[in-house]
């Protein structure tokens, strides 16, 4: 069985198939960004993206994800360590305190903005309903998601123009946009 984690193909040993996937990621792959905080799917600290959908994985097994495309928080920043504009917005807006909910929160917001790059503030508030944070009162998290939205709008336009003109080069703009955003912000 294979998993596709942060763009890498992972061969899952048979013995690991019945493991909780959160343990597999944390222990076997050393991707400790996904946190255990409730073990019942109530808090969202373990959220990862599976085919761009936010999934609370603490109650799931490795075998539930055969062949699926997984993104953990470790896979969101650029390979050179440059923060994704959404991450940068979390930093800039003061949306991080203790940081324990942050990975799940960022990924939930990322999935949301991929689908809804022009959200209202109320939609943003609703989008993170499944992720608990005890430090921030969510206010600066919502600010950060709103602040990052224009990046996703540009990405969306980039994708549209790429598919219209069939130019593969258009997709490459992701990192340039990220850097431009950092400099501008």
């Amino acid at each position: 069985m294979k998993l596709f984690v942060n763009g890498k193909e992972i061969d899952v040993p048979a013995a690991a198939m019945d493991k909780r996937i959160v343990e597999f990621l944390r222990e076997d792959l050393d991707l400790t960004g996904a946190k255990n905080a409730c073990d019942i799917g109530a808090c969202g600290a373990c959220t990862i993206l599976v085919n761009d959908e936010p999934i609370r994985i603490c109650i799931k097994r490795v075998k539930d994800f055969a062949g699926q495309r997984i993104l953990t928080i470790e896979g969101l920043a650029a390979a050179d360590g440059t923060l994704h504009p959404l991450q940068q917005a979390f930093v800039d807006c003061g949306a991080i305190q203790c940081g324990f909910c942050t990975p799940g929160m960022v990924l939930t917001a990322h999935a949301f903005l991929l689908k809804n790059p022009r959200p209202t503030r109320e939609q943003v508030r609703r989008a993170i309903f499944q992720n608990l944070c005890r430090c921030t009162g969510y206010q600066q998290i919502i600010d950060a998601i709103e602040q990052a939205a224009p990046h996703y709008q540009r990405e969306e336009r980039g994708l549209q123009s790429a598919s219209a003109s069939k130019k593969p080069a258009a997709k490459k703009s992701s990192k340039d946009t990220a850097l431009a955003n950092v400099e501008a912000g």
Binding site: G33, C38, I40, E74, C98, G137, Q139
Partner: protein, 763 residues
């Protein structure tokens, strides 16, 4: 290098937003063992025997630890040494731990906990704090002689005479609930016996490394120097990562020491909920005399705090409640009796607010009730009684060493909210609409730091390097609030250097002097004070080293823009060059700063004294609607105004305010630890409901800056002030919406919305 953005800068933001920050459970060591606690199903019982053989024979189990394995003190505590590392004579509450199973894997450890047998003789449990105070009640701690842990009083003026001067007497009973901190990260420890020198290294989720060190050293019977607590990112504390966190570390360290292997114990949420100490539930009888002019003549109150099975910090929590029992109001005649009481309920200890959220829920409703009797607005009533510059508090402390900003905070909220106009629109239970509108506010003052509760001083070490980079470390702990960042910002500013020169050194109890616990909203004022004094010391050393070269007296040397300057900006030496030269001069650019809290005083017989060395002032208001049919409360908008002295990191200050308001909204409307018969049923985040994004309104945080002369940085506090007044503001708004007063927390109005978010694992 470009200067970093100081507005929201955090030294740990990058690590946290990329998932690279390593919390305790993320740490890995070779040959790691795992531990799990064993509870019994008793609430109060005499312990006869614990049988561990079956568990110890379970494949993969290495050892089962009980009280008999403790080489040092099994009983410890910060005030009274009554906490048990393991239950030894009795089981005093449902969260008492009788044993810890250590195994090759966490799963095995957890499975084997079921095999430990506890033989005990049930005793009558006392679960009602009032009943616990009566003669003949079962004693939780026989050797204490009574269930009353501690009493405090305020005796000021003549309360009977004060009531005789009054035109109205208002008198009510209030009750508050047990609440859980609900930090996202549960208690966790990894303890590693260092092979080179036998020191036990402790990595853990805690907000008091030095207290944890005392617990560990006492339990193991070894000197403080043989335990090293290494600072580890903490996933939330809110006052809750002190005693229980320390005990979890002590048990884990014991396992590591005895087995000579690294051991990890990460609490499952249900263990954390069941065992960890909570915010005290209070019962308060409050009587207030007022004149027809709206002046308070007297207050008499009786406060009973349920401290649960062990002392923890109950005497300190109830002391703050006593000192602040009249809120920010001048009252000449006060008679307050406060009792902290042992029961067989879950332990109560420190939680953000520390005895003030309970009292403010009472006081801020009482002033509105009194105002209504007098026939004036709650705002006007507050104005006629609030503390002002030079006022004397109910403990006899004159407020003149700092700006008394109570009215400034109130006025700012009124203006920002357009409050009085909106007040006129409140429904008061009338009208045809389903949604009843209300607005309400509450305000408080708060003594900063520990006050007469305890020893209060803090250290900072600055160690500049020969290339101009700088290490700083401070004896307060990063709880997630941004303490390390605030300390770094203060240092950069004071030394006139770029922030990116400064590296906050990961703390270790073996390096920095014991500077107390990072509680009581004391991190910025005490830690920042120490940084400032260390920086001044360092600057003095540097100035003396270069005054001759700069051609001016040492006290005229200035530090700006990464240069050390003489009289003019052109007579200057680059900071990094200066550091290199100091090395050649055989001088260390090194300084230790110690900030000691200014003098405080307390007479425990009269309840009089200068309780705190300074105070902060805050006011919060909230708009809401109440659905007539469902009783659902919808928060629409909230504003907070706080005088913080000086905002070192404004975005972080706002973050504290928003988070504090959110927690207080939960306190007001949702949160309640339920434990019928002493056995907790709210054991996870599905049944213990903390606010979700949709439960909260848009919030606005307004910072007032009146730099405080007693604080070397001018900064004061925000963590707890932010968390102590939204619940009473909500109560007042609900009254203005419905015409109904609510005297107990959380406020239930008819049908209560149930949490809807839950995975397959939820029942």
């Amino acid at each position: 290098m470009p200067e970093l953005d100081k507005k929201s800068w955090r030294n740990d933001a990058y690590a946290k937003v990329t998932g690279r920050a390593k919390f305790t459970d993320d740490l890995k060591f070779a040959n790691l063992l795992h531990a799990a606690p064993v509870y019994s199903d008793y609430v109060h019982a005499k312990l006869i025997a614990i049988t561990t053989a079956e568990a110890e024979n379970f494949p993969g189990v290495i050892k089962v630890l009980t009280a008999k394995d403790v080489p040092g003190a099994n009983r410890f505590g910060q005030i009274i040494r009554d906490f048990r590392i393991f239950a030894d004579d009795k089981i005093r509450y449902h969260g008492d731990v009788v044993a810890v199973v250590v195994a090759e894997t966490r799963e095995i450890a957890i499975r084997a906990t079921q095999l430990v047998k506890v033989n005990a003789e049930p005793l009558p449990a006392v679960l009602d704090p009032e009943a616990a105070m009566l003669p003949g009640a079962p004693l939780v701690h026989e050797n204490h002689g009574t269930n009353i842990v501690k009493t405090h009083v305020v005796r000021r003026g003549d309360v009977e005479a004060g009531f005789r001067q009054a035109d109205f007497i208002v008198e009510e009973n209030f009750q508050t609930q047990t609440v859980e901190h609900a930090y996202m990260e549960t208690e966790a420890a990894v303890c590693v016996p260092r092979s080179t020198d036998g020191v036990i290294e402790v990595y853990g989720s805690m907000q008091h490394p030095f207290s944890t060190r005392r617990f560990v050293a006492a339990c193991l019977g070894i000197p403080l120097s043989e335990v090293e607590i290494i600072g580890t990112p903490m996933g939330g504390g809110f006052g809750g990562k002190d005693d229980t966190a320390a005990i979890v570390c002590a048990r884990t360290a014991l396992a590591a020491k005895l087995l000579n292997r690294p051991v990890k114990m990460v609490y499952r949420r249900d263990w954390s909920m069941r065992e960890s100490y909570k915010r005290h539930p209070y019962r308060v009888h409050y009587k207030m005399g007022v004149t027809k002019e709206g002046r308070i003549t007297a207050v008499q109150c009786r406060i009973v705090a349920d401290g649960g099975a062990y002392c923890s910090v109950t005497p300190w929590v109830t002391w703050r409640s006593t000192v602040q029992c009249c809120g920010p109001y001048v009252v000449e005649n006060v008679h307050c009796d406060t009792f902290g009481v042992y029961t067989n309920n879950v332990v109560a200890g420190a939680m953000r607010g520390f005895g003030s959220p309970q009292m403010n829920f009472v006081i801020e409703q009482m002033v509105e009730i009194a105002a209504q009797r007098v026939g004036i607005s709650g705002i006007e009533f507050r104005r006629r009684n609030m503390v002002r510059q030079g006022s004397v508090t109910i403990t006899g402390q004159k407020l003149d060493g700092h700006k008394v900003a109570m009215e400034q905070a109130l006025d700012t909220v009124l203006r920002e909210m357009d409050y009085e106009k909106k007040l006129a629109k409140c429904a008061h239970g009338k009208g045809d609409a389903d949604e009843l509108y209300g607005i309400g506010l509450a305000m408080s003052y708060r003594g900063v730091s520990l006050g007469a509760e305890g020893v209060d001083f803090c250290a900072a070490i600055i160690n500049a390097q020969a290339d101009g980079s700088i290490f700083v470390e401070v004896g307060v702990h990063e709880n997630g609030q941004g303490s390390e960042s605030a300390m770094s910002l203060l240092l950069a500013e004071e030394l006139g250097v770029d922030l990116n020169r400064i590296r906050y050194r990961r703390s270790s109890t073996s390096n920095i002097p014991d500077s107390g616990t990072t509680v009581a909203s004391r991190g910025t004022i005490m830690g920042g004070g120490a940084v400032m004094l260390a920086a001044r010391e360092l600057k003095k050393k540097i100035a003396e080293a270069f005054s001759e070269k700069l051609g001016c007296a040492a006290d005229k040397v200035r530090f700006k823009d990464n240069f050390i300057c003489g009289r003019s900006d052109t007579d200057r030496i680059a900071f990094d060059d200066a550091m290199r030269q100091m090395w050649q001069m055989q001088q260390f650019p090194f300084a230790l700063g110690t900030f000691k809290a200014p003098r405080v005083s307390w007479n425990e017989h009269t309840g009089q004294g200068d309780a705190y060395f300074t105070w902060v002032y805050g006011c919060q208001a909230v708009e809401l609607t109440v659905n007539k049919k469902s009783g659902k409360v919808k928060l629409l908008n909230a504003v907070a105004v706080h005088d913080v002295g000086r905002a070192v990191n404004p975005e972080m200050v706002r973050g504290q305010i928003y988070g504090g308001m959110a927690m207080s909204a939960g306190y007001g409307l949702y949160e309640e630890v339920k434990a019928p018969d002493g056995k907790m049923t709210t054991l996870n985040l599905n049944t213990y409901r903390i606010p979700r994004s949709m439960d909260l309104p848009e919030m606005k945080a307004i910072i007032i800056e009146n730099p405080d002369p007693v604080s070397p940085t001018g900064a004061k506090s925000i963590g707890e002030p932010a968390n102590e007044i939204l619940a009473p503001a909500i109560a007042n708004a609900i009254f203005n919406a419905t015409g109904q007063r609510h005297f107990s927390l959380p406020i239930h109005l008819g049908a209560v919305p149930e949490p809807t978010i839950c995975g397959e694992g939820c029942k």
